[in-house]
Symmetry: none
Subunit: 205 residues, 4 copies
Amino acid sequence: MAKAVKNSSSARAVVSDKREAILRAGIKVFARNGYFNSKVSDIAGEAGIADGTVYLYFKSKDEILHSIFDRAMAEFIEEGKRELAESGTPADRLKRIAELHLEKLGADRELAIVFQVELRGSTKHMQEFSAAGFHDYLDIIRQAIADGQASGDFRSDIKPIVAAKILYGSLDEMVTNWVLSPKSYPLAPMAGEVLKILFGGIMAR
Amino acid sequence: MAKAVKNSSSARAVVSDKREAILRAGIKVFARNGYFNSKVSDIAGEAGIADGTVYLYFKSKDEILHSIFDRAMAEFIEEGKRELAESGTPADRLKRIAELHLEKLGADRELAIVFQVELRGSTKHMQEFSAAGFHDYLDIIRQAIADGQASGDFRSDIKPIVAAKILYGSLDEMVTNWVLSPKSYPLAPMAGEVLKILFGGIMAR
Amino acid sequence: MAKAVKNSSSARAVVSDKREAILRAGIKVFARNGYFNSKVSDIAGEAGIADGTVYLYFKSKDEILHSIFDRAMAEFIEEGKRELAESGTPADRLKRIAELHLEKLGADRELAIVFQVELRGSTKHMQEFSAAGFHDYLDIIRQAIADGQASGDFRSDIKPIVAAKILYGSLDEMVTNWVLSPKSYPLAPMAGEVLKILFGGIMAR
Amino acid sequence: MAKAVKNSSSARAVVSDKREAILRAGIKVFARNGYFNSKVSDIAGEAGIADGTVYLYFKSKDEILHSIFDRAMAEFIEEGKRELAESGTPADRLKRIAELHLEKLGADRELAIVFQVELRGSTKHMQEFSAAGFHDYLDIIRQAIADGQASGDFRSDIKPIVAAKILYGSLDEMVTNWVLSPKSYPLAPMAGEVLKILFGGIMAR
DNA sequence: AATGAATGAGCATTCATTCAT
DNA sequence: TATGAATGAATGCTCATTCAT
């Protein structure tokens, strides 16, 4: 029985390893060629398994992409929530969110490419993604801003949701630029630049 | 001679009409299904012509997408430059650019979808696009900001290029949200919202 | 009326000129690319006319090829018959036929290419061609040989039709080699070489 | 282990069988319709496999034709060389070559059609083919004739290469006639007829 | 007669997915 | 579980032919 347990556990580990390998391979291949120009056999090859094996772990090519998004978003959201939960001024919380956003994507260029490029690659994916996690993510930002308004730290004549989109859009643009740039530079520090402007505006006082 | 002129002019008009019809059909079909899920025969059908006729005006499916981008970008840039040329405070110029951006895309939802979704849909297109027109566009914004700093209207401790990306990213995000939203609302007014925050920041004074 | 005649005659001349131009263009284009890789528009372009005009003179692309064969064969046969009609020993007649064969094709490399390559390019064409003119041509050769046997000039223990095929096949091979050879050499002199062997055999006496 | 061996061997056999089946089907279909009028799906259908399967064994339709030529030529050359190697008078060697030529093609009418018709069907194929194996083949014949001249069996006032072309051209013509003939007759015996004339000439002594 | 824009049937090739082993 | 050979639906593009002018 010990054997059985061990087998089962190692089997599960293997399952998890293969699934993981396919996802990593998918990120790499999708980042390189784009979703539609990537073949399932490319992913299988990159993962070091046979083509057919992919279908033991994923129902379709599309599901691989979905899983990449879902898993990354779940981590994103989870970390975002953790930061929110920790006490701190609303401004600090926004700062942490922005830093996390850029650190996360800046640490995994291939994942960033898939996010910036493929997620946008079809209304279908974007809408599904929106439904899935994007809205939650945006809401975390919005909440921090609303809290700042309640505490008097932030101006009260702005709409929190608009400000949240501006922050998100700004960060997104930084990532997109970084992804497409032939130059290699650290992404995370851009968080400070963005917030300096977002907090203080560009007008001279 | 009148006849000749008329013939020649109508012939040119027909050519131009058909090219135009294919581009409009392409925008519609790409917006609906995405580039890779759109068939050339869909576009031909939408344009009311035979499949083969498409190839009298475009060398390939890909060239249709390119032409859509190129033409729209050319207009974009041209209008952007015109606004810049007109005198006005740097702040006014940014305002006009933002309004134009949203008016333009807000007036043609399908074109907006293609831009927001397909352009992002492949690094290939994005890089070509970047090379082509995007950089010029961003530079127009950057220049306005730099001018504002020179005139003392804008803070001098921010990097114009970063602020330009923030404005662009914010506008882009507004468009993306609008495009994906099931709700129908006017896009152009968001320009004011964005600039209120970008100009003044979100911090309370 | 003079005018009408002139018109009519020049009209006929034009018709004939265009037909001729298309056939020449066809020979050139088919020789260059082969029948299946040649486009009707290539031929039209080469002939300096519009695509549609081709169909005023020929029912189809296939008919152009046919006409090329038919016309050339008619000339071939006619000249062959004239040589036969002229008195001369059977051996002289064979000599003239062989010379004519190689002179004719050697004088028009493009026509030779079409004959050697395209005519063989499909059983369909070959069978039609056989039915049309090839059989007549071979029969002229056969007759000369039979005459030579009757006159005692040629061995009587060989089948005239076989000897005719051998002569034809030999000449054909000379043409094929000449057509495919990167080297440029006069084709006609090969007639003597061929007949020297055909007449005397290769055995030493 | 026996199992492994058997599997491996049967696997290889299957691969080989399928490749073989496609080649046979290609010969049949090309012989029936000609290369350009044959669809890959015709070949697949004839071979009893799916269209896509063809591409697991051949890169393109063109490669199928090439493989047909290459394989047949390799056999041709090999047998030709074997005959040459065996001692025998030059005349005997020529006889064996001629017999083999006609036996080989006479035994596989479809292959003969493809050779006579398709190989000639394009200068492209002919030139590649020439480069590949035809020259070798012709050289074997030429060598036998040159040997005959050296031994005094053959006349020394003829050019071996010309005589070789005459033999080849004659045999080729026999095959072409046989292929196109509606009548069914054995091809191989023509070898004797051809050589009787080639050896002795047609002149009476 | 001449044009050349328009047509639309036709086809090689790809690749996500299945399934026998 | 894993494999990878086999499948066959799907589609961009070509080009012979037509026809309105």
